[in-house]
């Protein structure tokens, strides 16, 4: 980074708050809607202080009514505002599924109405949230044409991608990983910056094997890479950052270099994003593969609550290590 920095470290969650605050200052059309986001500052305090700064019509507490307020955000977006909706937990996005997939996703295709809308959805496990507060629902929307989907893994990406999402003329689902909220910190540039949608990022360069992943799993892959490095297995970690539009070129380039690939995600395995990428790689990179395409993902169960169950459910560093060893043998 060539931009000026301070030494002040910012958490992932603060990076999201900063992006909201800066975009609201930059563009008066940007406003926030969601449950308990005003006085309370949101379940995860992402919007804390914004009500005082921008007033109740730009930080709008809604009734408990996900379909209703997503629909309202679509209407406001079509009238020229830039709503950013908060799902209290990504799990609750299922209540708004119809508005997202039938109205927001199809309006432009059907009758040319742009819907510049962002829906922030705190997703993912590892926080003892159980079946209704840990879900990774991105797969449902990955299959719905007309939506963009973002899932950052670092404070820099979280801030830059949220700004890009707010400036995008389309509906963007922004999946922020709540396990990362206060665990990951970084020094961010002071100037305005965006991370363009649709660009993957190679978080670690390596020559032996590509791990393609996103969200909290990026950090798991980086941890596994350090362990495997000691055994002489050099992992490349590709962070998708944006799921739609998918940066196929970066994926193909990585796999053409390493010839081996692990697809890692926290969403359950069947019909997941890994399945789609596996199919793409089989179609486009078949000739350069030196081993099977491996998927590491949770079993096809709801996210369980009890600690040993949730630990069993979530992918682990050891899963990546053993998967990499298996592929190294080819």
């Amino acid at each position: 980074m060539t931009t000026a920095t301070t030494t002040h470290e910012v958490t992932y969650v603060d990076a999201i708050s900063q992006a909201l605050d800066e975009e609201m200052t930059r563009d008066e059309r940007v406003f926030l809607m969601g449950e308990d986001i005003g006085t309370y500052g949101g379940a995860f305090k992402v919007t804390e202080g914004l009500l005082q700064k921008y007033g109740e019509w730009r930080v709008l507490d809604t009734p408990l009514s996900e379909s209703g307020f997503v629909g309202a955000a679509i209407g406001a977006a079509m009238m020229g505002l830039r709503p950013v909706v908060e799902m209290q937990f990504a799990d609750f996005i299922s209540c708004a599924f119809d508005q997202i997939t039938e109205v927001a996703a199809k309006n432009h295709y059907r009758w040319g109405a742009a819907v510049p809308l962002v829906i922030r959805a705190p997703f993912g496990g590892g926080v003892h949230g159980g079946p209704f507060h840990s879900e990774c629902p991105e797969g449902w929307f990955f299959h719905s044409p007309g939506l963009k989907i973002v899932a950052p893994s670092t404070p820099y990406d979280a801030k830059g991608l949220l700004k890009a999402a707010i400036r995008d003329p389309n509906p963007v689902l922004y999946f922020e990983h709540k396990f990362l909220y206060r665990r990951i910190k970084a020094v961010l540039p002071q100037e305005d910056f965006v991370v363009p949608l649709g660009k993957a990022d190679v978080k670690r360069r390596g020559r032996d094997l590509s791990v393609i992943t996103y969200g909290a799993m990026v950090h798991l892959a980086l941890e596994a890479a350090e362990l495997l490095n000691k055994e002489g297995i050099d992992l490349e970690v590709v962070d998708l950052r944006t799921l739609i539009p998918l940066d196929k070129e970066t994926l193909y380039e990585s796999v053409r270099k390493t010839s081996k690939v692990i697809l890692l995600h926290e969403d359950n395995k069947t019909g997941g994003i890994g399945a789609e990428i596996a199919a793409l790689l089989a179609e486009e990179c078949f000739d350069c593969l030196d081993g099977p395409i491996l998927r590491i993902a949770p079993p096809d169960t709801p996210v369980p609550f009890s600690t040993p169950l949730e630990e069993f459910f979530l992918p682990k560093v050891s899963d990546i290590v053993s998967g990499a060893r298996r592929l190294a043998a080819y």
Binding site: G68, G75, M78, Y109, W111, A113, P116, R167
Partner: protein
């Protein structure tokens, strides 16, 4: 509607204008139905036959910069907003010159420039959307109103209730209506809800409501105008229940044998065009020769529209791939 009230309250030109749109709607939809029966229109054909007064009445009461999220039997609203019979017929024929360029059919059309929000088949989906449009007007302090509705069946959906509640809580400048035409496809109102009047539902949200004779264009116009004025003045939303009867099947493929014949006969006598004609004659605004002349003129418009639509090109297959996403230059940065 009391004639004296009407003559004092609605200018002659507005009444004649509404009569024009009643006839144009009827003529256009009769043509669409005929084309469907000839197999030249494929897919669903949902008409407002016998219910034309509702869309014509409310759309006439709105200002041009207000927005409408119509019910799927609101052809008159499209015509009043400047959609031409040619464009509409092109839409039904899947032509490139239709408002959706062949991407969608029949009444699933919209255009933000003309304040029409594209209809979504999932009934009541656009009610929260209209609340959001009204929210944008309120946030920007614009004196604009959103007008949105669904049928009796659609009021059973959660989105109807979520929209009504949100609009009432935030006192948004929106008017909601229900076209109570007594049947949701084949399901009569008594199997849809345990109340007789849909307007009862508004009470639960602290929203004022009115029952309106949906076959009386003047009554629809006046009730809409009152509700719109209230919304524009910052007094929040109103709910209007337009009582009417669906005179055709759900779609034109549906013979609607489940509707008692006597019920249709009873409502046939209340036809909104006949009633508008009686009103215009009583007020001395028009006579039989005027009605005949309007009939000729709307038929010519519909003929010209049919010609335009039939001459229009179909989209090419690969156009399927266009328009999934909006580009930055379509919206102001």
């Amino acid at each position: 509607m009391d004639q004296a009230t009407v003559s004092n309250d609605i200018p002659r030109s507005d009444l004649l204008n509404m009569y024009w749109y009643l006839r144009l709607t009827r003529s256009l939809e009769d043509r669409i139905t005929a084309l469907y029966r000839q197999g030249r229109i494929v897919g669903g054909v949902y008409t407002s036959h016998g219910m034309e007064a509702i869309a014509v009445g409310y759309a006439s009461a709105l200002q041009p910069d207000d927005v409408i999220a119509p019910f799927h039997r609101d052809m008159g609203a499209f015509l009043i907003r400047g959609f031409t019979p040619g464009e509409i017929l092109a839409q039904y024929l899947g032509k490139r010159t239709g408002p959706t360029k062949g991407k969608d059919g029949n009444v699933h059309m919209g255009d933000l420039k003309r304040g029409m929000i594209g209809f979504v088949s999932h009934l009541a989906d656009n009610l929260p959307v209209a609340a959001g449009a009204a929210l944008a007007f309120k946030i920007r302090r614009e004196a604009r109103v959103a007008f949105a509705g669904t049928g009796d069946g659609g009021t059973s959906r959660g989105d109807f209730h979520e929209a009504m509640n949100f609009a009432a809580v935030r006192r948004l400048p929106v008017v909601y209506f229900c076209t109570n035409n007594q049947y949701a496809y084949s399901t009569p109102v008594r199997c849809q809800m345990a109340i007789t009047d849909v307007v009862e539902r508004a009470k639960a949200y602290g929203m004022p409501g009115d029952i309106v004779d949906g076959n009386d264009v003047a009554a629809v116009y006046q009730a809409s105008r009152r509700a719109i004025a209230n919304a524009r003045a910052g007094n929040g939303p109103t709910f209007l229940e337009f009582k009417t009867m669906r005179m055709h099947g759900h779609s034109e493929h549906d013979a609607a044998k489940y509707v008692p014949h006597e019920l249709l006969e009873e409502w046939k006598a209340k036809d909104p065009i006949l009633r508008a004609e009686r009103l215009l004659m009583t007020l001395g605004y028009a006579d039989e020769s005027y009605f005949h002349d309007v009939g000729e003129r709307v038929r010519k418009e519909v003929d010209a529209g049919t010609e335009f639509a039939e001459q229009s090109p179909l989209p090419e297959g690969p156009e399927t791939l266009t328009g999934v996403f909006a580009s930055v230059d379509e919206v102001s940065a």
